[in-house]
């Protein structure tokens, strides 16, 4: 019995030393031992093999390679063009307004097209994969194909849930607690260059540990464009993990509402070591106050660049939705960043209506890995004669173009809110001008 006890204690010691030396120390000092690279290479080979196997077995079913293509082909003609064609068959009446019974065809077809397939609602659910990636959650249609595939799938479950998940959980906990302890300690120092340097080092180190806690493989491109102090960094938003991804490489000041509970402890600790912009819930409603505080932060050139996600909500990383103009009115230099996740290794999108934060993080920890690309784009400034909305759209299209995402004008807030009536009124106005001409207020009879 004594021997078994000692063996147990020894095991635990070894396990802890292994974690520290193989994972934490490289994470803290930013170098890599190549373990995760090997894991990723093996994983890629397995997924490729699985795809080939599945495709061979499904020769009679049409390939879902066209999953990213639409179900229908849309007519993208303008209202004027379409109605003009519909009305071609009859002469324009001399008085009384140009209306014909076939006018409704335009609206009904557009309506049915949007019922079959629309640009907005699909952005709030996870992206459909072209081929299965051996995770239960992406396939509710599991058909038995071969013994080997099932074995690999079963092995995958064991590896992910019993080996990787506990490991990742440990790392995440270590990372977060170290963040709280480290920043509070640094916060005790008087303000000086050393304090800022230490604070940055503590932040980056803890985020690196957290990133290892998610098996994140991040590739940064164009690092010469990294955001500098006194600027605002804007990026597309897929999940809260975006923060970990970006903070692995550089230090940012966060903006947000102060929460209670664990989140609040984290926020209060962080602000002790370097200035972040936290708001009380009531303050967030006051737009002038928000703008003023952001402006003050940005004008102080010793403070870190602010990180903002102008979409205001998480979308599924296939598109970029409307950017809220608030951050673009401040007049600071904007550093756009594009983040694109590879869905093969795990779905990074947080569907907040379906999963709570905790279950989302657990799902992340039981995925294969988190693979993403981050592109730093050149700094942008508001140009002469350009208002905040146009500037925001310009930045948005640059990000969308780089990340290979679709650039949408729709508001991410449509996830929860109804669309504004003004859009319908715009359509009605446009149609009216086609019926009575532009002077719709006159009585031409």
């Amino acid at each position: 019995v004594c021997g078994a006890d000692r063996a147990c204690a020894l095991c635990q010691c070894v396990w802890l030393y292994l974690i520290i030396s193989l994972i934490m120390i490289p994470a803290m000092f930013g170098f890599s031992l190549g373990i995760s690279e090997t894991y990723m290479t093996i994983l890629m080979k397995i997924l490729e093999w699985a795809t080939v196997k599945i495709q061979k077995a499904n020769l009679d079913v049409e390939l879902k390679a066209s999953a990213s293509n639409g179900l229908i082909q849309r007519e993208d003609g303008s209202m004027e063009k379409e109605l003009g064609e519909l009305r071609r068959s009859r002469p324009k009446p001399p008085v009384g307004g140009d209306f014909t019974l076939s006018d409704c065809f335009y609206f009904s077809r557009k309506g049915i097209e949007s019922i079959v397939e629309d640009e907005v609602t699909q952005r709030f659910t996870s992206e459909e994969l072209v081929s299965w990636n051996l995770l239960t959650r992406t396939n509710n249609d599991f058909q038995y194909i071969s013994v080997k595939l099932t074995l690999v799938y079963g092995l995958g479950i064991f590896v992910r849930y019993c080996i990787l998940a506990p490991l990742r959980l440990t790392l995440a906990l270590i990372g977060l607690s170290w963040l709280v302890i480290g920043t509070s300690t640094v916060g005790l120092l008087p303000n000086s260059r050393i304090k800022s340097w230490l604070s940055e080092w503590v932040h980056v180190m803890c985020y690196r540990i957290c990133a290892r806690g998610l098996s994140a493989a991040i590739c940064y491109h164009n690092r010469e464009n990294k955001p500098k102090k006194g600027g605002i960094c804007v990026a597309n938003h897929t999940s809260p993990i975006d923060i970990v991804i970006l903070c692995n490489d550089s230090c940012y000041a966060m903006v947000g509402q102060i929460h209670g509970g664990l989140m609040g402890i984290l926020q209060r600790a962080m602000v002790r070591s370097c200035p972040h912009v936290w708001f009380e819930r009531a303050e967030m409603k006051d737009r002038h106050l928000v703008t003023k505080r952001l402006k003050d932060h940005v004008n102080d050139k010793t403070k870190l660049p602010i990180l903002i996600f102008p979409e205001g909500t998480c979308v599924n990383n296939t598109s970029v939705m409307m950017f809220k103009k608030g951050s673009f009115e401040i007049g600071a230099t904007i550093y756009p960043v594009a983040i694109k996740y590879d869905p093969k290794f795990g779905d990074a999108f947080w569907n907040s209506s379906k999963y709570s934060m905790v279950s989302y993080l657990l799902r992340m920890m039981t995925s294969w890995a988190l693979v993403c690309n981050v592109w730093y784009l050149p700094a942008m400034h508001q140009q002469e004669g350009e208002d905040a909305v146009q500037f925001a759209n310009r930045v948005k299209s640059v990000i969308a173009h780089q990340g290979g995402l679709i650039d949408l004008q729709w508001d991410g807030g449509l996830k929860r809110a109804k669309v504004k009536e003004t859009f319908k009124e715009q359509q009605q106005k446009k149609y009216s001008s086609m019926v009575v001409g532009d002077d719709s207020s006159s009585n031409s009879d």
Binding site: N69, L86, L101, S108, I115, N140, W410, V436, D445
Partner: protein, 185 residues
């Protein structure tokens, strides 16, 4: 693999829908995926609210009328079969199946004929016109447009438009091309 919906839709059902509506197998499975993604309540039927959650449909001036086309008289829920039957009206008809039950002009007629009495009355026409133009045209002008439209179409003098009169007005318009949706694969 990967379509979560196809396990819940049995092969026999797909075959029946295929025979009834003419959609292909893959089109039916993809439309079933779409149906389930719209079905937020996950009870196998769609309500009017489920449709109105589509922003592009919500801003369509005739959005409510189009949604109505899916619901049988007096009902508030539509199942997948009903969904497919309505969509079938918008599938381009191949030459060898001129099936009058599924044609674009029938749906268009229904858009105007709110009370489904197979006649478009002046009031019904006015209502639809009002939906399409919003507040931008006066009542009198709208009234005269409606009167003129009925006058042109009405051949039997009952001051309303029947389905046959409706078709006659539209005979020069290529209904198939204008109302049908180009489904891929």
């Amino acid at each position: 693999m990967g379509s979560r919906a196809s396990t819940l839709l049995r092969e026999e059902e797909i075959e029946e829908i295929k025979k009834e509506t003419g959609f292909s197998h893959s089109q039916i499975t993809r439309l079933y995926s779409r149906f389930t993604s719209l079905d937020k309540g996950e009870n196998g039927t769609l309500s009017r609210e489920d449709f109105q959650r589509i922003p592009e449909l919500a801003i369509n001036p005739l959005g409510d009328r189009i949604i109505n086309a899916f619901f049988p008289e007096g009902e508030d829920q539509v199942n997948f079969r009903g969904f497919m039957r309505t969509l079938a009206h918008f599938r381009p008809i191949e030459d060898n199946e001129k099936n009058k039950n599924y044609s674009g002009d029938f749906i268009a007629f229904r858009l105007y004929d709110l009370d489904r009495d197979d006649k478009i009355s002046r009031d019904e026409l006015l209502q639809v016109l009002r939906m399409m133009v919003g507040v931008n045209i006066s009542d009198e002008q709208l009234g005269s447009i409606a009167d003129r439209t009925i006058q042109e179409a009405d051949t039997n003098g009952d001051n309303s438009i029947s389905f046959n009169e409706f078709i006659k007005v539209l005979e020069k318009v290529d209904v198939e091309q204008k109302m049908s949706i180009r489904f891929l694969h």
